[in-house]
Symmetry: C2
């Protein structure tokens, strides 16, 4: 009912998802399905026909955004870095642009996940993937001998991941007035000092 078998015209579906994304970025979690319908140029019931309920609309939105953002290319660029310091810097560049793009949706999903089973799994899926990316990165650092002795790969990966969550990004850039550059520079330096061995920090 929810995942594979899409009801109706894919174009209509897409328009609804786009409308949802736009309204979330304006009104956060208190978006009304009626407004989404209006914005998509569709009746409210159509949303129910396509997605079943509010929750599954948001779940679909997560997938939709992942698909439309096409992470693969950016990740390849990170992996192409020829030293650990540069890899961290490129990761933070990616985080910066990515966070800005998904923040309003992330905010809603983050907070809804603890009240909603389906949303929770969708969001945690995403986060697991994110964690995996960081783990690979840290593993590479370790393989090069760049990871400081203090850290196991797992511990460093978890910290790298946790510290670059949307929350801290939001606080620094949205509340404390850091520019994108400041965030990238600051966090990169922070992580390089914390994770890499003292010999080659950059």
């Amino acid at each position: 009912m929810s995942s594979g078998d899409a009801y109706g015209d894919p174009e209509t579906r897409r328009r609804i998802l786009e409308a949802t994304r736009e309204l979330i970025s304006k009104h956060g979690s208190d978006l009304r399905l009626g407004d989404v319908a209006d914005r998509a140029g569709v009746s409210r019931q159509t949303i129910y026909l396509h997605f079943g309920d509010r929750t599954h609309l948001l779940v679909a939105l997560v997938r939709h955004m992942d698909e439309s953002l096409d992470l693969g290319e950016s990740l390849a660029h990170v992996r192409a870095a020829d030293n650990s310091s540069e890899a961290i810097a490129r990761t933070m560049e990616l985080h910066s642009s990515f966070s800005a793009a998904i923040d309003s949706v992330a905010l809603v999903l983050e907070s809804a996940q603890y009240e909603d089973e389906a949303l929770s799994t969708a969001w945690r899926d995403r986060m697991r993937f994110r964690l995996g990316v960081h783990r690979d990165l840290v593993q590479r650092m370790a393989d090069c001998g760049d990871l400081a002795d203090t850290w196991t790969v797992d511990a460093a990966a978890d910290l790298f991941y946790a510290v670059t969550l949307p929350g801290p990004w939001r606080e620094l850039t949205r509340e404390l007035g850091w520019s994108d550059e400041q965030y990238i520079e600051g966090m990169s330096g922070f992580l390089q000092r914390a994770l890499l061995s003292d010999t080659d920090e950059g």
Copy 2:
């Protein structure tokens, strides 16, 4: 109507706030005022008499928790540390116990702040205070010459603050299975390496 002039019996007020806290830790942001009333042994209308509406109940809860937690003592213990490394470690101990105590409420407030003016100011007030505590701490490090040259006091304070927000704590301890000790140890080491000058990391 909301802040200074408290309506009714302070004891009743306290019971309502306690009930709110307990129910939030169970049901998160979808607590129902009816349930709060039941739990507090009071009619639903009494809540409205005391707090006006749902929002101002939550605002009052923020103040209530701050008062009941009595931060002062713990902060004194942090300041009594005789080197920067130890100060960071003690800060993380404080964060650990504190985060666990307020997490469920923090989660609700964090997410609601972007939809609700009154809640937003209440929560940001709290966060400003938190930031100030970290800034003082970093200032002390700088005064001792322990802060790494890379950092200005402001940048280091912002990062210290942002990285120790409830979000990362929640992710590490709740989702990635870190124990309290692991969080304290891991984050302390992380911050010490990142912020302190290379000569004396501990």
